[in-house]
């Protein structure tokens, strides 16, 4: 797993040093074995996948609270499946978790996750503290300042995309640009906002893109 304070961009993050070397499949087998290493393996599995499930929830449910509920519901189901030896292909547990996300996303409810009454919830809560996911929310004041510093065209593209929810083709039509140019402008604008937020004192310094 990557140290959030030292990760350095996609390549380094993908190939960088790990704080725990065990492959995902080994964690699943350890959990299924019900041995003394089980609780640590469960905690590590949650630590690895909770942020990814949360991002999935933000992307598909468009709501912070519902995304957190999804994390609980999905990880609970995954831990229960792992304990029961029902993860058929431990080498592909990432696909198992994604499949569980897709199945649950449309019916996630706060009560569904919290009424389960399982000690697995304690594992999820203790190993994946919500506070570490603040990366998914930027400082609004800083973001507005950074937005004001963009050139007018970039600001229009960003605003039309993320506040008015127009697709690239529609934005291209409105601003007399090509769709490809809209996408390139958007990529650069989001990168500029990210750099600006980091320079303005964000939680971490910018990484390579």
């Amino acid at each position: 797993m990557h140290d959030a304070t030292t990760a350095a961009g996609p390549a380094a993050a993908c190939y960088g040093p790990l704080s725990m070397e065990a492959p995902d499949a080994e964690l699943i087998r350890t959990i299924a074995g019900a041995g003394p290493g089980g609780p640590d393996a469960e905690a590590e599995l949650c630590r690895r996948f909770a942020p990814r499930v949360y991002l999935y929830g933000r992307r598909h449910l468009r709501d912070e609270d519902r995304a957190r509920d999804l994390v609980q519901a999905v990880l609970l189901a995954v831990l229960q499946a792992a304990r029961a030896g029902r993860v058929a292909e431990p080498e592909h547990v990432d696909r198992f978790i994604l499949g569980t996300c897709r199945n649950m996303a449309s019916r996630v409810r706060a009560t569904e996750a919290r009424s389960a009454g399982s000690e697995a919830l304690d594992v999820i809560e203790s190993s994946a503290p919500w506070a570490t996911w603040n990366e998914a929310r930027a400082d609004v004041g800083a973001l507005l300042r950074c937005l004001a510093a963009l050139d007018e065209r970039s600001r229009q593209v960003v605003t039309l995309t993320f506040q008015d929810e127009y697709p690239a083709d529609e934005i291209a039509s409105r601003l007399t640009m090509s769709p490809g140019n809209v996408r390139v402008t958007r990529h650069r604008a989001v990168a500029a906002l990210r750099r600006c937020l980091d320079t303005a004192g964000g939680p971490r310094k910018e990484t390579a893109q």
Partner: protein, 185 residues
Amino acid sequence: MNICQGPLAWGTLVDYWAGDLPPAEADRVEEHLFGCAGCAEVAARVASVTETLRAVLPPAVSRARLDALRASGIRLRENVFSPGERRAVLFEHDADLLIHRLGGLDLTGADHVSLRIVVESTGEQLAELDAVPFERGEGAVLIACQRHFASLPADTRFELAIHASGIPSAVTRAEYTVIHQFPPA
């Protein structure tokens, strides 16, 4: 840990969060993100920008949008300001959104209205928008002040420029200063 098969491009992640990828490609991105902690971390850095942008209302909103917000359960408090007025407003706990109604304007012949938001004490420009929604019948521009704006300086000056239809040089200006007060949580 699993080995990354090839980092996703920044642009692909931006398009993913913009909801602007074909469904099959979005599925492939998700499959990669679930198998790669490093790329998921970069995706989170993209999302911190895009999802915060989505959560922020634009500074000026239409009356229709306010009506829709009110209908959805958002608690609105409206403060009325006249041109040149400088006044403090309190963001009470029982409000979700403060609306500054910048009124007293003749908008009957307006083509568009531009807005500049400035910190009064420092002159720092927070935003400059070429064309914002305006209420011709009310003679007003509606500013949406959100609770998370507490991180901005409290003294804010809103500068409006009203551009008349067909007469590019005909611009009328008005200023309003709002001192924002946020009680402790």
